[in-house]
């Protein structure tokens, strides 16, 4: 029991393997529900490829579990601004995600100028900028500039929301 517990410790990758397996299973279940009309012109049918793909995912999931339990680990990706010496900083990521979700919820009602400005401001704040006045000015300027840029330059009407008639 203790060996299993110690083995599981620090193996978040198993969660990813579970995700892979779940996606694979979803693909397989979905494929099994497809009706296959007999057809001379399509001997392969709509099921074959989903079965192959789902199978591939499930097999990968199983092999990944085996690999992780035996001590294999995926190599996290580096980059110019990436410092892998400290662990995932959820206090940055969660507010970022919150700003992103807020934008999804209000973009159609409040309009891009408001939701986009909130998205940018929220993200900048989450990433650690604390120059409130400058951040607000930049957020509003960016969302206004993109709103008019898309409208005048590309002919794409982003939603104006609450500000319909004002903009």
């Amino acid at each position: 029991m203790t060996t299993i517990a110690s083995r599981l410790k620090g193996r978040a990758e198993l969660g990813f393997a579970a995700l892979l397996g779940a996606v694979g299973a979803a693909v397989l279940i979905d494929a099994s529900r497809l009706a296959v009309p007999y057809s001379q012109s399509d001997p392969v049918g709509p099921k074959t490829v989903p079965f192959i793909v789902g199978g591939l995912l499930v097999v990968c999931a199983v092999l990944l579990v085996v690999d992780v339990l035996r001590g294999g680990r995926g190599e996290a990706e580096g980059g110019e601004d990436v410092d892998l010496t400290h662990p995932t900083d959820w206090r940055t990521v969660l507010p970022l995600l919150a700003a992103f979700v807020l934008n999804i919820l209000i973009i159609d009602i409040a309009g891009w100028v408001i939701s986009g400005a909130l998205l940018f401001y929220g993200s900048v704040w989450a990433l650690g900028s604390r120059r409130y006045v400058r951040d607000v000015i930049i957020s509003v300027a960016l969302s206004l500039a993109t709103f008019y840029g898309f409208y005048l330059g590309l002919g794409i009407r982003l939603p104006a929301g609450f500000l319909t008639g004002v903009l």
Partner: protein, 570 residues
């Protein structure tokens, strides 16, 4: 002669003032976005796609041409002025380039990179002009079974050759294929993986997926590990080269081009191997061996040329076969399909104006790149100092905007978030991004060819290898898969012979050769990590049990120096 006429017509289309303006804008934006740390060429193209929505296809592609070369060039500026390279293709440029910059020769390093990129890009594009028509002639004679075989080769090549873990590569490929399945089956009209959600019935927009994986995933990943003390950049004046620098640069430029183009044109060739090879070659041939590791100009000139020639090489299979071989080409291909244009041999017949205008604008864009970048280099250096909160908030902001502008529906943003989190998890757990993108884009087309092939054979499985080309390609696939197995077997029996054999292999040769050199600094140490990876890779595939618990000396550098060399030009 005919080709030349077509090319001239292409120039006539591309050289109108309006189109020149688009090319100029493309180069400028591509370079600016490419210079920004954290943004590679693929993300640059994905983020800039919305700007081309309102344009007609020809102008849009002329702008793409500029963005493509601009983004490629921008990356090398970053790696010369900031030590840590963002993308694998410029890892080598960073080694000597950054040392030159530190020694006060940043201007020369940037100059040899810019002029080398221009030389290599021009020669590479000329080779594209020469090779694309014959490849097209060859490709139109291919049936569905051969196409399927070539796509299978592309899947296996990007998955099994690149990257340190084949298992994670295949997992990534499977995810990409699964995403590609979503939507209505084109043959029977049945919904697959739609889960009753009408907005999924048309399938996931490839642009939304690309922006999610490249931009949102990357921004979240960097945010989670943001360096709190940003790297110092080296200020630079206008790039220039002295007579001596020219003398030492022109041969490496040409040799780098010779390495880069063929590797770029191969599926899974990429830019890493030719830049390695070029670096090693220049080191061997140089009269100033002692300067290597302290900022040798040849070590910047050769790899930079190889990098850009490979970028041009990549366009050959992409335009002629519709086969993307790196992430940037895959995103460009997605953009093509957005316009209802299917790259492939028929493109040259159906849309000759468009193709040749695109090729002509590659020449134009390349020239503009040189003209713009030499005077603007000090400005680019300033871009590197942009406060990081603004940079990454900006990436999220523009990613959201771009994905939303495709269909103007908030649902796409939910998809963006979900797939962005997937991209984040993939970076966290070391899954390469490229197989996912290739699977997503080629998957549906491979399925189409599979069904066509078996339809022609009346359901007989032998229809899959009815053409000699198909058989040849499958043999190549088998060889690719078996090679590491054979190597491992030989190695287990005779360690000495295996080392020699491994050295004869292309990618491993470069890596191994770099590894032989004494480690003088951190950069060299990083190379060795990459080399050890590559050398270790065959073992891992062949013997899963050994792969799971590899020898400590094989694994260690890998973890410490997490510069994944397989990370495909993001």
């Amino acid at each position: 002669m005919d080709t030349l006429n077509l090319l001239m017509q292409g120039f006539a289309t591309a050289a109108t003032p309006m189109n020149l303006l688009y090319a100029f804008l493309g180069v400028l934006l591509g370079t600016a976005v490419g210079v920004l740390p954290g943004i590679g060429p693929a993300m640059a193209v994905a983020l800039l796609l919305p700007l081309t929505y309102g344009l007609e296809p020809t102008s849009a592609f002329i702008m793409f041409a500029g963005i493509y070369y601009g983004g490629m060039y921008g990356g090398s500026t970053t790696s010369i002025l900031l030590n840590t390279p963002g993308e694998s293709a410029t890892v080598i440029t960073a080694i000597e380039g950054h040392r030159m910059a530190k020694a006060g020769r940043a201007a020369q390093a940037l100059a040899t990179a810019a002029i080398g990129s221009f030389v290599a890009g021009t020669i590479g594009t000329a080779l594209l002009v020469a090779f694309a028509p014959p490849v097209v002639d060859f490709a139109v004679s291919l049936g569905p079974s051969s196409y399927l075989a070539i796509m299978v080769l592309a899947f296996i090549a990007v998955t099994a050759i690149l990257g340190s873990s084949k298992l994670r590569g295949f997992a990534s490929l499977g995810l990409g294929l699964a995403i590609g399945l979503v939507g209505i089956d084109p043959v029977t009209g049945q919904q697959r993986l739609v889960f009753g959600q009408p907005l999924l019935a048309d399938g996931l927009d490839v642009i939304v997926v690309a922006v999610a994986i490249f931009a949102v995933g990357e921004a979240l990943w960097i945010a989670a590990h943001l360096r709190r003390n940003p790297l110092s950049t080296i200020p630079v004046g206008r790039p220039w080269m002295g007579k001596q620098d020219w003398k030492r640069s022109w041969k490496p430029w040409l040799r780098g081009t010779a390495y880069g183009f063929p590797f770029g044109a191969l599926p899974a060739g990429g830019a890493e191997v030719p830049t390695f090879l070029s670096y090693v070659t220049e080191k061997r041939l140089s009269k100033h061996k002692e300067e290597f590791g302290h900022g040798a100009i040849e070590g910047v000139a050769g790899p930079e040329a190889a990098n850009n020639a490979s970028a041009a090489g990549t366009l050959t299979p992409m335009l002629a076969l519709g086969l993307p071989t790196n992430a940037t080409a895959a995103v460009m291909l997605a953009a093509f399909t957005q316009y209802g244009i299917q790259p492939g041999p028929l493109l040259f017949d159906n849309e000759p104006d468009l193709v040749w205008a695109l090729i002509a604008s590659l020449f134009i864009g390349n020239t503009l790149l040189l003209l713009i970048n030499l005077p603007l280099a000090p400005l680019w250096a300033k871009l590197l100092q942009i406060p990081r909160p603004y940079l990454y908030a900006g990436i999220l902001f523009f990613a959201t905007l771009g994905a939303y502008a495709v269909n103007l529906q908030a649902f796409d943003l939910a998809i963006l978030l979900v797939l962005g989190l997937l991209g984040f998890a993939m970076r966290r757990f070391g899954l390469p991004i490229l197989p996912l993108v290739i699977g997503l884009i080629l998957g549906p087309r491979a399925e189409g060819q599979l069904r066509k092939a078996l339809q022609l054979s009346g359901g007989d499985v032998a229809g899959l290898w009815s053409e000699p080309i198909a058989i040849g390609v499958y043999i190549a696939v088998a060889a690719l898969l078996a090679l590491p197995l054979v190597l491992a077997l030989v190695r287990r029996r005779r360690p000495q012979a295996a080392a020699a054999l491994a050295a004869a292999e292309g990618p491993t040769a470069a890596a191994a050769a770099v590894a032989e050199e004494p480690a003088t600094d951190r950069a060299a140490a990083r190379d060795r990590a990459a080399a050890t990876d590559q050398a270790a890779a065959p073992d891992q595939a062949a013997a899963p049990d050994r792969a799971a618990a590899p020898a400590p000396e094989e694994r260690q550098p890998h973890h410490k120096d997490s510069h994944s060399h397989e990370k495909e030009s993001l």
